[in-house]
Structure formats: C-alpha cells, structure tokens
Amino acid sequence: MKKSVFIHNALAPASNVVIDSSLKERKLTEDNSPALRAKMNIARSFMKENGLSELTKVSKK
C-alpha cells in the first residue's frame, strides 16, 4: 500500500540543509569503502543470525 509523505520543514529550517552536488561523486559504496562494506556485513550477519528475511514485519505491542 502506498505510503504517505511527510514534510520535515516544520522541524528543520531549510537553512539547515544545503544541496551539494559533489556529494554524489564522492558517494561511498561497498566497492570503494572497506569500512562501509564492514558495516554492511555486520548488518547482514545480524539479519542472517536472526532470520530477518521478513524485516518489515512488526509485532504490535
């Protein structure tokens, strides 16, 4: 089901966020960043150990 979109502007003044197009070129990936790859592997290991294939399922309290 389509999700709703919220607006952050009430929380964060627009002046707090500036678009920097150079960030796209400097984006870290698992290919160019060993540290990022390590973080992803930690998360993958956690998911595997805990059988989180259905990650979006939440048991409501």
């Binding site: 919220f6 929380l11 964060a12 707090n16 960030l23 870290l28 990936t29 540290a35 998911m47 979006t56």
Partner: protein, 150 residues
Amino acid sequence: MAQLNHCYPLRSDELYETFEFESEGPSGVILKRIEFPSFSENLIVVNLAFGDLIGDEDLNDTNVTNNGDTEKILATVALAVLLFLEHHPDKVVFATGSTYSRNRLYRMAITRYMTDFPKELEISGYVNEGWELFSKDVNYKAFKVEVKTT
C-alpha cells in the same frame, strides 16, 4: 519539538541519500558522513552508515573524538534519517550497532528525539527474536524506522 533544531547544518546530494556535516569542538573540525546503502538482497531496506570521514575516502565509526557534541551529532543524524525517509518513503532504515554501547547510544538518541519525529513515522526495535514498537526502556539489538503505511 525543539531538539532537532539543535543540529549541525547538513549538506546533501540531490537525491537525499548522502549527507555530510562538520562536528566542531575541542578536537577541531571533524568531517562526518551519513550514507544509506541498500542491501543487495533487499532493495527496500537500507542500512544507516555513519562515521568520521577519513581523508575524504572512508568512514571510521570506532574513533571517539571527544568533541563534546554527541547530542548535536545525534540530532544531526536523526535529521538526516528524516530527510532520507521524506524523499524515500518506501524505504526502511535499519540500524544496528557493532557493540552493546553503540546500540545503547542509538536507543538513547531515539528516546531523545522520537517526540520530534513526525507522526507518520514508525520506530521499531528488535528484541527476543522479534520486532516491536520502540519502547525507551528496552535494550534492543537493532532498530528500524519507516513511514507508516496508510
């Protein structure tokens, strides 16, 4: 509602997927990077990856920089999560710390800022082999934040 206004100015790419900011304090100016990389086997779920940027090339989240601005940094990361989900409402942001203390830090940050989060967001924690809606007094192993389904 004022907590998230006490954050560092953020720089973002046009897609709101990569963020940078500078931590300022007694240890100097430290460049911080926040990324939301997808898991290849699940394109809906992204990982919250955050750390110091070393030489403009890689992350380091093991350093303790002692810049005296932990709360301001956490508020800035929380703002980045909001911005990411605002522009990618079908994604689920997953976060787990590499250590118990890191997960505790995440829990403290969520507890502090969740009242500032829009009501459209749902925050969950993983404990006892299951997800539940976030509760501030539970030691979770992992967290996820997503926009509620309508």
